[in-house]
Amino acid sequence: MVKRYWVVFGAIVIFLLGWGVTARPAWFYSTNYPALYSTQQLQLSHSSRVMQSFLARYPGLYRIEIHFSNHGKNTGRLVFRLKESCSANADLVTQVVPEASIADNAEFAFEFPPLDQSAFREYCLVLEQLPDQPLDELAVYASSTNLYPDGATIFDAAPPPAHPAERVPPAASPPVKPRYFVYLPAIFNSHGSKDRHGYDIGFNIYYAGPLLPTLQALSINLARHKTFLFGQPWFYLAIFALYLIGLIFLLHYVWRRGVNR
């Protein structure tokens, strides 16, 4: 009994040792994940606004995260609008949030009821301050060249203020952690934008659509731009179905053999 406890204890120690040696290596981020957001900050004020067009690829768009810089003791309020296009008058979604609730150098999420018909539709998000707000140090991280292929940023810059606050160059930001998320089958989230080095703001979009339309959209996205059979959406449904059948066969075979031994 005592020997068994030592074996278990030893196994746990070895396991934790193994876990420890793969503690997140900082060099891996610095060499492979450059600070893609840190090249620009688009300052928000009551005379300027940021608009970003994007393409939603799945149904159920329900959450958009924006990467903000928020240095000051901001007391104003930020308006988030979602439109069908940057020139549209009507808003699909409007939210007003206190700027004080937005953390510095972090994503802030705007959530709304899922748009079930969002698959392959273009949208435009708009960020601006309410009028008559104090001049706050709130900005959206962006990059200096256009990298996001499915949209672009429009930045209506404000004129220089009468007493410009001293602009501190943005410090070298820590690299943005790539997003990983549950995708299928139970929780339908999906990472929207992965581009940094472009005249685009840093944002992520999430979906929570129904299963079958999401699978359909996935097969269309998988087939997009591809050739041969790989350009056919049905190919992916068929190949993954075959794969699932093969897995079931294999697991059934090995477990039946093992249990019957």
């Binding site: 193994g18 994940y33 041969f228 992916y236």
Partner: protein
Amino acid sequence: MIGFREKYNNWAPFLILFALALIRGLIFISIFPPWLAPDEPAHFEAIRIIGQLNQTPTEEVYQQTPMLPDMLSLFDKFSIWQESLRTPTITLDTTTPPLVPFASYYPPISQGSVVAAGSYPLIYHTLLAPISAFTESLALDQQVYILRLVSLLLTLAMIVSSWFFARMVFPNTTDFAIAATSFIIFLPTQFHINTAINTDVAATFAASVFYLLLVSVMVYQRWWLWLGLVVVTAFGLSIKPTTIFLAPTLVLLISGVWLKKYRLPRALLFGGLFLLVGLTLVGAVALFQATEARRSVFSALQTLPQTTNLAVLIPTRESLTLYFATAQFAFVTFWGVFGWANIHIPFYWLGLLAGFIFVLLIGIAVYYWKNVVSSRQQPQMLTDKQRAILVVLLGSVIFALIGIFAPIIASQTDRWGPPGRYFLPTLLPVALLLYLGFKQILPGRLNRLAAPLWVTIWILFDTATLLYVILPVIYG
């Protein structure tokens, strides 16, 4: 006479695994867009220059070979730079002379990533060049997919080798073959790398045939198997430096066969093995130091006394820090890094994996001590032949580690990675040894479920990687 049931039990798992490997190969070929694999544009371009331009891809040729507009448009169409979290090195104008050469657009990481004659073996590219020539009239992405299908054929051949390799080592049951082959099939990085266009797939294929012949030689001892083994060794060595461990493995095998007739004590045999490992380490470091300037091996050997600096073998605090960091990088990239090293599994998954693998390594050590080294274990689980095979396999893995880390030890820099794909040629023995370690650590009453548990673990890991990492990052 073998009945139908027994034949079914012998062949059904192989056929199921082969079918799964084929399906997985098609999945990985299709879900990773063209170019989104390590150095795939560079290898494709080298094959294209040989096959379609009838030129040897030297540095001079690269400077004169413009970036193909179709290649550029594919980079844009599939958002490769965005997927890789990078910016293009330069803004290209592919229509106004002077046209920008491919070598200026790619590589994104280092200047050495173009596959140039004189600094990179071109056997793989030369062998695939006729296929490139045959497909010249097709669109560029179609050419990529066809070359990827060739990689899939090589990978399927490797899967077949793995099955028969494990069956020969443990002929009394299919459990080991099922476990080892399943591990290889459901290792996601393996299928990602080995269904792309690169020399790793050729190196892995050559090494798999080497291991199959090695075990065949030890079991059947036919002269033509020996001949095949020597030929495959030479072929493997010519493909990529990551297969250099095949040479000392062959030496180990020959030494073992030659010494067997003298019935030397085990202590002496294992002492000789340690000596061979030590000599391999010293030789690998010295050889790398002599050839680092990319001189030929023959000219480098002449200057060996001047270039050799074995003081690098003495561990220091800085060197140990370097080795730890590079080992960490190798581990991370072996288990869960995809694309241009930008798509990776969550680090806490890696932590769990590392813990699990550490425990398995202890299991391997215990298994070897009990069944291979010690003669006190009764009843004996292994035959003499099996013990000899396991010694050679373990030796080959050690030689592979030496070969891959020798550049780092010799240069005392992390310039040489090593990326985890450099270890793929050792997949066959690694898969088998890890399963042996798993069986060793399992409690006795669970041992009959070792194979199904093992297969299930790797299927779960692979499925999670596909659904939670690869698909969302690329197609989100």
